[in-house]
Symmetry: C2
Subunit: 243 residues, 2 copies
DNA sequence: CGGAATGTTGATATGCCTCAACTAAAGTGG
DNA sequence: CCACTTTAGTTGAGGCATATCAACATTCCG
């Protein structure tokens, strides 16, 4: 009964109802824990993994590699997230998943998950829903990266990370971990390092936030959210976090 | 036994195995057919529909509305697609779906689909997979709109539409329907009308394609795909189309 | 303490935006 | 069927946000 599954459970409960037998079945899933170094790949583009990952600690990201070699980060994942749930039903990875900082991952064999789905359809639905929320986050990223000026885009990104960290219970009051370099922020938001640096100065000057040393500080949530044009409804969490 | 479901079936078969009883069950789903005018909304942001839509004809799009009023199109859907499958498990729409040209839609009650899923898990998995491929398309859109110059972005977009139309059997040899204005292309790719117009001229000058009158013509697929940095693997179709 | 990685800042270049005028094509009503 | 209006697309001029290149400052870490 790996305690680690409680982390997934907590995440699923944020949007889905599960019975006590669902929960028990989930808890009894076999898993292997693995630690990854910063920047180490967890799954690569083209792979066909036979396990799915749950993030237990640290930060993990999905990314594409462009022919130029440039990296485009697609999403960030923290404890409780299943960044490669899709490998259950799509054989080949169309993107890669890597650790951003040092990350601890729980790996669950597909066969075990599929057996659980058959026995406990409610769990399958909860994880399906999880993948659908992922898709909503991707859609928001399309809009964010295509339709907003860089300052707004950056603010929106910070809002999302902070909000998700809080919703998952992984934030201190007023701050959360966000171990990205400015180069990586650029690769996330489709922008260059110097532009990120300058946009960040603009944000800091609003006094609503700060970002340094891999830590995101939020001083004035309402202001930051306004600045970043952020509305959390796309995250589809049942009880909106108080911020 | 609405024949219209064969259109969905064909789509699902492109990536999933279904038994004859799965197919029979799918065919027996009740549905209502509805016609939508160009630009008419099928579902709106904030709605909680009790039915899911299958596109039977025409072109349909998902979109966000920005506070400025600007529209960001997120994806395009043609016959066989289920642009709002997610409403099965996510109550509230975080985006809207509209008809681009005149579109015919089949609406299936959620209750009927959910009952089918219970009876025929393979169908549930096929549709789950469908939503996962949707997510892969969103990811590609993030990369396309964030990481590539406008000409490339436009070429990539044309490649995707043409490839998907062919895969679904909705393309003539060398061309497919794509009833978008340049304004809409701009709202798709996060760009302005004049820039689209100029980028389009560049593409036309390569002699690999043309786009006019809502029709996309492909003269030299290999060239266009190269220009658009297009690799169809993210569409996860079992038998890659010959082009 | 020295070297590598990260971030800041400036100068210059450029892709794309905005505004605007104009052309072309597609309805619409007399 | 033709003028009238509307919508769509083209083209030009000027400006701005962001890219690129480069030098420097700072922090981190062995």
């Amino acid at each position: 009964m790996p305690l680690s599954h409680d982390i997934l459970l907590r995440k699923l409960k944020a949007h889905s109802e599960l019975s006590s037998s669902d929960i028990a079945a989930l808890r009894s899933l076999p898993d292997i824990e693995r630690r990854f170094e910063p920047d180490e790949d967890i799954v690569r583009q083209g792979d066909s993994p036979k396990v799915s990952a749950i993030v237990l600690g640290g930060v993990v990201a999905r990314y594409h590699t462009l022919p130029s070699g440039r990296r485009q980060y697609l999403s960030l994942h923290i404890a409780g997230d299943m960044p490669d749930a899709q490998t259950l039903f799509i054989e080949t990875m169309d993107h890669a998943v890597c650790a951003i900082d040092e990350a601890v991952i729980s790996l669950i064999p597909h066969v075990a998950l599929l057996a659980l789905f058959e026995e406990r359809p409610a769990v399958a639905i909860a994880i399906w829903r999880e993948t659908l929320i992922d898709a909503a986050i991707f859609r928001e990223a399309i809009t964010n990266n295509s339709g907003r000026p860089l300052r707004t885009r950056l603010a929106h990104f910070f809002c999302e990370q902070y909000y998700r960290a809080r919703a998952g219970g992984h934030a201190k009051p007023g701050s959360c971990r966000l171990p990205l370099t400015q180069t990586q922020l650029g690769e996330m938001l489709g922008s260059s390092l110097p532009s990120i640096s300058r946009a960040l100065h603009v944000l800091r000057r609003t006094k609503s936030m700060d970002f340094r040393g891999g830590e995101l500080h939020v001083f004035d949530w309402a202001k930051l959210a306004r600045f970043g044009d952020f509305n959390p409804s796309y995250l589809h969490l049942r009880k909106p976090s108080r911020l």
